[in-house]
Structure formats: structure tokens, C-alpha cells
Amino acid sequence: MALDSKIPDGPISEKWTHYKDHINLVNPANKRNLDVIIVGTGLAGGSAAATLAELGYNVKAFCFQDSPRRAHSIAAQGGINAAKNYQGDGDSTFRLFYDTVKGGDYRAREANVHRLAEVSANIIDQCVAQGVPLAREYGGLLDNRSFGGTLVSRTFYAKGQTGQQLLLGAYSAMNRQIGRGKIKMYNRHEMLDLVIVNGKARGIIARNLITGEIERHSAHAVVIGSGGYGNVFFLSTNAMGSNATAAWKIHKKGAFFANPCYTQIHPTCIPVSGDHQSKLTLMSESLRNDGRIWVPKSLEDAKAIREGRKKPTDLSEVERDYYLERRYPSFGNLVPRDVASRAAKERCDAGFGVNKTGEAVYLDFASAIQRYGKEQAFIKSLDATDAKLVYKLGKEAVENKYGNLFQMYEKIVDENPYVTPMMIYPAVHYTMGGTWVDYNLMTTIPGCFSIGESNFSDHGANRLGASALMQGLADGYFVLPYTIGDYLAPDIKLGEISTDLPEFVEAEKNVRDQLEKFINNNGAHSVDYFHKKLGKIMWDKVGMARNANGLNEAIKEIAALRDEFHRDVKVPGSLNSFNQELEKAMRVADFLELGELFAKDALHRNESCGGHFREEYQSEDGEAQRDDENFAYVAAWEYKGKPSEAVLHKESLVFDNVKLVTRSYK
């Protein structure tokens, strides 16, 4: 099957407008005859549910949490990009488009990214109209901050809780429609399969997580907005329940899975403290604006610190290696996420790590405290040579900017980051890969759409900060409502889809068989036991740096672990009750398949680009080497019974508007 991305003709800045002018529309009276299922209620799913319901479609929305307000979009801290140019600093739709394509290391689809940039400004208008309290200046107008990888200030924010505020905005729009009966909300439900009738997605099988009941739900189209698959690593900044099941089930039913190896490892997370660790906590990228990253220059000092014989503050300036400033003098501590993460790993692998596990580097605010302190003393006409006073003023300034993050750090690590430098280490944060979609956001299964982090389309091989929120809301509020109408237009006379069709019966039986198998398995080990093992393989061999040997080993090890899991996993409790272990077993079963495809994709991509770093493809000084001649394509994998048999399809990426150059931050 040849992939057709369905990119409209015409100049890039006119494609979306022209597309909207010529698609099929559904008459308002007919929309009420059409049902749409949406799985996931984060920024993408929640905004899509609200908008489609407003338009008049009957929406059935599903989330595994106890309320749509808890989707993991809520945890996004920093902000949301939009080409508003409120700062008058030269921003434009084209610049946002350009930065996103470049930041993605030239592995995203131009037309989709341009559309994203076009609708970005509307998102801010929409959210403000909904009552989202974005940060404002004293004049009452909206404030902006700047983020990595750009030269303008285009990031809108709500303190360190931007994701929360935007999600609650989408949730409020959903609530209005739930109150009107246009959205039927299914909380604590998990989608466990897709139902295809005559080649089109027509429903899902879901499990009610409270009663354990397996339910059939039909619709004229199914939208997956279930987020990313970062939890394949066990430890990540994702929520505990974040899972790939909906995305993986549609993959097994025919939706191609694109670029699974593109994973974002975020450089500033709190390091692992021990074997009990259940998840990792992100510290906002904004900290790198003022913090300086370093490790000891000598191995002896690093060892002494690990063993508790020395403290970081014992080391003088000359005994410290500010390795980002050393390697990348022009961008310094503000290099993009992928570059900063790899540099931390390189130092720790060389033995310079500073916590007991040897996997941590320092993020130091001492010089920021000095700089701000002197600045404040000057502003207030106080004595800038009084060290105590300067420290006090500087500490206050840092507290104003990052107080909540410092407090969060102290609660977790039990160390005061004003006194001793923070310890940080990279952690899995976001997955750029996902279900392949065309320009309409439709997967290779007609009638099955994929939006937000669960699709692959906008971030290429590396996502810029503050762009995930933008994409989720763009897809849900402004893109899908057009494209799904075009698809549904021929279905207006179809009437309700019966859930008694044999396809529903069969899908339900398959789901029930899988669930019963787990309940009756009576193995020796818990689900977490296997999930942790999978995470270790992924992190060690398919993590920040990969090589062919390691990837080949990982593929074998994951397949073996998957067999062992199905043979030996132990799931207590029953099928027809609230059973959290059973929920986990179903999710981990999918991760054990996805992980293998992930490694296979990483092995086939013989280049380094964005979040995908192959050790064989680097320059002499350790920088990533892209191969545009052979790998400027989207790798879309077709399921053929098991991950090892997956068939590769290529969508060539054509760059008409952006010139491909080597990303350099030196």
C-alpha cells in the first residue's frame, strides 16, 4: 500500500485556506445523526470533544482517569507557543513554522507544521475567551517568555502550570457540552480494541474499570487522542497510567505506526533515587535560563562527592567543568533538549556523575544569585560590595522566578537548592513518533483519526519546548473539526451503527479472551516486575544513545521477555471487578510489543537526527550526523502478526520552503 499524505496543492501559506474552502460540509441537521468516539481527554481529545459537540455531532468521550480533567496534559509546565508577535520582535507564522521544522531536525511534514503555525494565534484568543488565566503584564496585556531553539519571545504561560490551565479550559468547554447532553462522558473506561466494519472504523470495545464489564460502543468515526508511549521505559515523566494501548490496538488493526524511535529525553529531571522509584519528575526547561550545568573536572573529586567525602560547594571554579559552556560556547546552557541530554550522559558515562548512582550532574544557581543580587543592589542604590546583602537580594530574585520549582525539588530530594546545587539527569519525556496520519489526521484505517501526541506529524525527530500544548489544541479545536466533517459527509444517511454486528461480537470475544488469560495465568511475578525489566532494556540499549549491537540485543531480549511475561505473569483479582493489576497487565502487554518495534525502527535508521542518536553516526567531536540523502523520510510500519515481521513503508519528506542545513549550536 502506497502512503498518500493527501497534502493539498498550492503554495504552503495557502494550502489550509484552500483546503477549507473546498471540503465537503455536513448540514447542521445531519450532524445530529452522526456519532463520534473520542478516546482520551487531554488537550487534543478534550478540545476535539468539545468542538465536535458544539458543531452538533454526538460525541462519546472515554478516559481511564476518574475525570477528563486529570489527563496528563495537565502536568505540562512551561508554556504554549503562538505566532502572535505581541512583542514586536519579528515573529511571524513563517518563523514559527521554520523554527519547528528546524528544531525537528528536518524530519516533520512541512504542510502540517505550517498549518499548526497558522492556527497557533487563534488558540490564544480561544483560551482567553474561555477564561484561561494566562500571565499578564501590569498594563493588563498578555505576557510572553522565551524558550529554547528560538530567537523570539512567543511563549504564553500561566506560571509553571500552563498545561493545567489550558486543560481546565478544554475541560470547561467539555462540561458545557456534557451539561447539554451532546457529550456522553465515559470516565474510568479503557479502550481495548477498535472495531472495523466494511473497512471503516465503526466502534470500540472498552472495559468499565469499576465494574469490569466489557462494553461495545459504535460510532461513524473513531478519534484516538491517547497521548504518547514514553512509559515503555517504565520510568518517565509520564503519568503512571499513561499508556499506548489505544494507539497500539489500532496499529494491530491496520494503522501504520510512524517513527517509533523518535523519543524526547528531557535534560532537566530529578535523578533516580533508588530501586523503589516509580516515576520521574521534570524540572522546567526555564531553569536553564539561569542555572549553569557542571560536573567536577577530576575523576577523584567526582568519586569523593559520590562517596560523600566532598560537597559540591567545596570545589572552586577551576575544579569545575561547565561542559555545555565549554562545548557550545554560543548557546551554552541553552542548547536544545536532545543536545543537553546527550552531553550529560557523556560526562556521566565517563565517570563524572555526582550522585550515588553516578547518574546526575549539577544545575547551579550560585552565579545567578550573585548576578541578580548585584543588579538589585544597583537598582535599589545599595552597597553592591556587601556580600551578605547581595546574596539576600539575589536569593529573593531567584525565588520570585523559580520558587515553586525549588520547593518541589526540596520536597523530593530533601536538599535546599539555594545552598547546594540541584542535581539533575535526563529522563524520557515525550514521544514524537506515533500513529501515521495524512493531512486530514486520518490513519491508514478509514474513519480512524489520531490527534495530539498520539500521532507523529508535527515535531519531526525533536520537539521544541512549548509546542506540545500548541499541537494538541490545534488538532482538537481547529483542524480535526474540518477534516472529520469532510470524511463524514457521505455517511449522513447511514443511521446508527448496530453493536450486534458480527465484527463487534468477535472483537469483544478477543478482548475477553486476553483478559481471562491474564486472570487465569497464575504466574510467579507481578506486572511491574516485567515492566521494570522492559524499562531497563529500553533505557540501556534504546535510550539516549543507540548502536547496532545494542539494538540487536534489545530486540532479542524484548521478544524473550514478552514470552516470559505471557507465561509467567501473575494477575490477582477477578475480571468483573475493579482490578488495577489487570489494567496494568493489558498496558504492559502492548508496551512489550511496541518496545520491539521501537528498537527495530532505531536499528533501521542509519543516521543520527534529533532525539535519535546512533553512536556510529557522529562527527569526531560527538555531534549528530544526519543523512538527508538516504533518510529524509517518515518510517511507517505496518503490523504483520508480530513486531519482528513489521513491514516498512516510506513517506518521502519534501522540503520546498525550508533549506536543510546541519543544526549547529556551537
Partner: protein, 248 residues
């Protein structure tokens, strides 16, 4: 550390529950409270017993999914945090820890420590929104300047995570702080003023219908709120409610 856990076990909403003792050894101070429960559950699963059900998701204090009434306090003994941010260094070797679900008539138990908080959602359905379509055909975001103080106060109210600690901490199981946070957020913003009258009346009516108790100004909710939502919001809601009632 070695601990004795006394945990509420209840198989389902229909069954009677009881406190059950679980000794637990090898607890480290760096563990979070929920990681300590993970360790307990791993032991229970390996022994062939039913693990303790508890709600949790983001484990970084923002999703509002985790709950737990620990030694008589919602989200445990520390301040300004959710249970997932509580660390075992707050306890000491040999401690006995009581772990119960959030208790309120409007929060029925689903299993063990998991409760049904959908009453909170239904209050939001009654008015927790501004009636604006998501078509994108809105005015430019900077058309109406909003003074920074109002914008900041609206933000502070909007940081509510809907966990229900306020209800669990209140001797009347009142949801006033939760409802007042949303009413305040919109009442403070020009966009929200348009529907302010109906909003406060409808949300309060739904709150009463769900079986939450009345507010007697004890202030326990504010003390236990992980996000520090201020009692001022309740005062603001009372003013809004009075004004709306007189209008209505």
C-alpha cells in the same frame, strides 16, 4: 524503617469495610508515600493476596487523582502537597500509620481507598464554564486588558486540582472551597461576568443536590488544600450568591 500500616479494606461499594493491619519492613526515607504502598502491594501480590486499591496518576502533585486520609489528615501530615508528594522521611521507624479513603456522603467508596468523585464533575457541568464556542472566531486575546491583580487572583483560584481534600477535611463534608474556586476564577474576569448570576446559582444548587454539607467557616479546607486555595474565595462566592439571589 519498619512500619505498621492500618489500611481500610473494602472489596466493593456494596461490601462492608474494615481496617486491616500490615507490617512493612525496608521502607526508605526517600520513598514517596505511594511508592511505599507500591512496595506493600508487590509483597501482597507475591503472597497471593489482593493488593490495596488506591487512586494515583501523575505522581507530581498536579492531576488531583491521588487522595488518602493519612493519620487523620487529607494528603497526610505535610503541608501544601498531595499524597504523591509526601515522602517517608516525614515518618519514623516504628510508626503506625492509619490510611483511609476520603470520607463523604458525596464520595462513595469504589474499592479500598478509591472513591467516586464524579459529584465534582457534575457541579462543573452545571456552570463551570464560559459559554463561548471553540470556533476560533473570537476577538483578539489582547482586546480586553485585565489588570494584573485580578488576573493573578483568578489564576490562584484556578489552580484547584479537584482532589477533594477540602471535602474530606471538613467536618460537614462541604464542597464550598471547591465550588468557590471556580466561581471566583470566572467572577474575577470580564469574560466570566456575563454569566456570573446563573453560574453561581446553578453550581450551588448542584452542590446541594449532591449531598455536600454546609460551610461553618472552620477553615480546615484551606489548611489541608494542597494548592493553598484561599478562604477568600468562599467569601467571594457568598457575595456573588447573595447578589445573584437578589437579582433572581
Amino acid at each position: 524503617m519498619k512500619l505498621t500500616l492500618k489500611i481500610w479494606r473494602q472489596y466493593s461499594a456494596k461490601d462492608a469495610g474494615k481496617m486491616v493491619d500490615y507490617p512493612l519492613d525496608g521502607v526508605e526515607p526517600d520513598m514517596s508515600f505511594l511508592e511505599m504502598l507500591d512496595v506493600l502491594n508487590e509483597h501482597l501480590i507475591n503472597r497471593g493476596e489482593d493488593p490495596v486499591a488506591f487512586d494515583h496518576d501523575c505522581r507530581e502533585g498536579i492531576c488531583g487523582m491521588c487522595s488518602l486520609y493519612i493519620n487523620g489528615e487529607a494528603h497526610g501530615p505535610d503541608r501544601g502537597i498531595t499524597t504523591c508528594q509526601l515522602h517517608m522521611r516525614m515518618f519514623k521507624d516504628g510508626d503506625t500509620i492509619f490510611i483511609e479513603p476520603f470520607r463523604a456522603k458525596a464520595f462513595p467508596v469504589i474499592k479500598d481507598l478509591v472513591v467516586d468523585r464524579s459529584s465534582f464533575d457534575r457541579i462543573q457541568h452545571a456552570g463551570g464554564f464560559i459559554s463561548v464556542n471553540t470556533s476560533g472566531n473570537t476577538i483578539d486575546a489582547n482586546t480586553i486588558p485585565i489588570n494584573k491583580k485580578d488576573a493573578d487572583d483568578a489564576f490562584d483560584a484556578a489552580t484547584c486540582i479537584g482532589c477533594g481534600a477540602c471535602v474530606a477535611s471538613c467536618k460537614n463534608a462541604s464542597a464550598m472551597l471547591f465550588v468557590a474556586a471556580k466561581v471566583s476564577q470566572f467572577a474575577l474576569l470580564p469574560q466570566g461576568r456575563v454569566e456570573a448570576t446563573d453560574r453561581v446559582l446553578n453550581m450551588v444548587a448542584q452542590m446541594d443536590q449532591e449531598g455536600f454539607g454546609n460551610c461553618t467557616n472552620t477553615g480546615a479546607c484551606e489548611v489541608e488544600c494542597p494548592k493553598g486555595i484561599s478562604l477568600e474565595n468562599i467569601a467571594r462566592m457568598n457575595r456573588e450568591y447573595l447578589a445573584a439571589s437578589l437579582k433572581g
